[in-house]
Symmetry: C2
Subunit: 417 residues, 2 copies
């Protein structure tokens, strides 16, 4: 309920690249056919050189272009909020802070990278971007970003969501995006994220004017999201805190988690916590291996925790967390023991989300509800231990377009996992 | 895109009561049966004395209770934003500012008065509030406010919205509200706001533990909303502006308009503009007369512009502007020529709303789209005149739960009026 605003002129002007400082060197992506490390030329049909360079960059800081900052300033710096009413309801000595990424145009952290990706593509004279989207968070962010740089945007939306959840489709169309249900060639198939990635990659690979854009997993995506944690660091100082004791975020592909956590990586005393759904427990129950990013096996093989690229997660409400794999950076940190991972069944996350809505007045996205759950449990553990821990979590998105999930929870229709 | 944040300790601590300073004395409400002026005792079955006193208060400032401020601080002070990207798109020398009330828990300005009303009722040991809601904005705000003061909340929701727009019902239920479709005794009737008011008033009048709560029109409601304009005044000073040349807001019952405009009333050089839908043009085409607030004629008669209490407005998407009457305070100002009124068909308001979404990244509620339309036209008039006018408008709510209206507009299904 106390908000800490970073002045507009204190917005970070460089992203933080932690790849050179990871506990173990990051293994390279491998070509899906040859199984050899992929080079820039392999990626060029899909990505602009500006982003390919960031994918393998070795410098610790990378300047944010002014054109990108101009758009980010529409909603950034985002507020850091101390959740005092939640603290009181829990009776905890912990001090709970959250970074409010829900204030962006798309209502989540996703536009932080969408804007950067649209910029680098436009700068290399690409006229059109393709992507996939599940419930629509990422597609909405990219449609908004494309509009800012006069790019066309084509979104392959998982058919089940396209049919049942039209609201985010309408947001994409409002910003001029073209949205089609996926898989395009099987009109009776409900679709999946892996299939939609295949559709979007195939489209971009076969048109010279088009590139493909991915909303999570890759190094450059997490890089763009580090602006979250960089701002939070400054704002915690404004709040009089030396450091957080623990940083918490939900984890699907890893971008909101990477965004808030990576800027705190170099302080070993800060715990970093990934929260995932029990029904798609990539980090806590998957294996570390090379695997494809999509179902059809068209993407490079990535070194990551995975449930197998053919794993079909149950249809839980936190669509953004239903991914078989995970960011190589996040996987590296978990494997090395630098980052913890924890999984929750969704019923417990909605219970936490409603406690948050009742005390702080904000309705979290189901994905964000996972971080809220872990934060509440951490605050209760601090109470048990009698410790005034400083907890920082990423409020990665609002749940205003996910109210049917709350409806199911409130009326006992939630299929728990 | 530049945001001006008022520090948390500068939140206004008193509301501004302009009733004693209106151009003409405000005529009293009349009893629906006797047609005599109503006294406090007539209102006591429905409202707490704290609010009845505010309804007839003669002091210019009324302190905001600390318990109310504690809840308002969850989202207040709200940002004042300069819409520089919209200005550039219009090529106008005008400076456009908007007050962002969409950041509240319910996504609109409505909680400003809901919280105050819940507090005064709880302070007089009322345990339960009833109200009506159309699309759900007001019911959502009251459900949130009741939760903060441990009151039960029963919402009579216009049946057509209850059936077709479940999202805001779910928000009300998330905060513990009980929502039933209205009219309660005619299960096949699509309902109307006037009928739902009758349902809610009847419920409250027949139970000792219950009061009724109204989200607009009445003096105390506009009083609570003046916090918007009071904050905006301070923030314009932070932005280096002496005063706005014109203040613009959409007008249904008049509360968001009153909230932003009334604190500027005493400066005659500032134009105040009400924007309403052409299909429910109360101020621009109605008559000034005593009329009932509801369809059944159970409420007191109010002196106001009205289209007749039996007028059934067409089912336009800006549900919050579909009211046959208007606030007596607003009506008084328009009648005296101190406030202008303008009406738009809804197609032009959606066109403006999408231009706003494309430039500023925020999707306005259809009601708010009316203010955006008038603001754009004012900025274009300033361009025509070569004048650097300062325009302030109230961004009264977001459109995230109104996306079906955008869908209709984008796909040519909008029935214009």
């Amino acid at each position: 309920m106390t908000r800490f605003h970073l002045p507009a002129d204190k917005i970070p002007t460089a992203w933080r690249n932690v790849v050179p400082e990871l506990p173990e060197p990051l293994q390279p992506p491998l070509h899906p056919a040859t199984k050899e490390p992929v080079g820039p030329d392999d990626l060029a049909p899909l990505f602009p050189m500006g982003l390919i360079a960031q994918e393998v960059a070795s410098e610790p800081w990378i300047d944010i272009p002014g054109e990108v900052l101009d758009v980010l300033r529409l909603w950034r710096p985002t507020p850091l909020v101390r959740a005092e009413r939640l603290e009181r309801a829990l009776g905890t000595p912990a001090r709970i802070y959250f970074k409010d990424e829900s204030v962006s145009p798309a209502g989540s952290h996703k536009p932080n990278t969408a804007v950067a990706q649209a910029f680098y593509n436009a700068a290399e004279n690409i006229h059109r971007l393709t992507t996939e989207t599940g419930a629509g968070q990422w597609g909405t962010a990219l449609a908004f970003a494309c509009r800012q740089f006069d790019l066309e945007c084509k979104v392959y939306m998982v058919r089940a969501s396209y049919d049942q959840k039209p609201y985010r489709r309408v947001m994409m169309e409002t910003w001029g995006g073209e949205v089609v249900p996926s898989p395009v060639d099987q009109p009776d198939h409900p679709g999946s994220l892996g299939l939609a990635i295949s559709d979007a990659v195939r489209d971009a690979a076969t048109r010279d004017d088009s590139h493909y854009s991915l909303g999570s997993v890759l190094n450059h995506v997490l890089l763009h999201q580090t602006i979250i944690g960089l701002e939070a660091k400054e704002q915690l100082a404004l709040a009089g805190e030396t450091r957080p004791d623990v940083v918490i975020a939900s984890c699907g592909g890893g971008s909101n988690l990477g965004g808030i956590a990576l800027p705190f990586l170099d302080d070993d005393e800060i715990r970093l916590v990934a929260v995932e759904p029990a029904s798609c427990a990539t980090l806590t129950e998957g294996r570390f291996d090379y695997d494809f990013g999509d179902t059809a096996g068209m993407t490079p093989l990535l070194p990551m925790y995975t449930l197998g690229h053919e794993f079909v997660p149950p249809s839980i409400h936190a669509g953004g967390l239903r991914y078989h794999g995970d960011s190589p950076i996040i996987s590296n940190l978990v494997k090395a023991g630098r980052m913890e991972a924890i999984a929750y069944p969704q019923g417990k996350t909605f219970e936490a989300a409603i406690q948050f809505a009742n005390t702080e007045g904000k309705l979290p996205a189901p994905e964000t509800g996972h971080a809220v759950r872990a934060t509440i449990d951490e605050a209760l553990a601090a109470k048990e231990a009698g410790e005034a821990r400083v907890i920082l979590f990423n409020y990665s998105g609002h749940g205003l377009l996910d109210l049917s999930a709350y409806d199911d929870y409130l009326h006992g229709r939630l299929v728990d996992a």
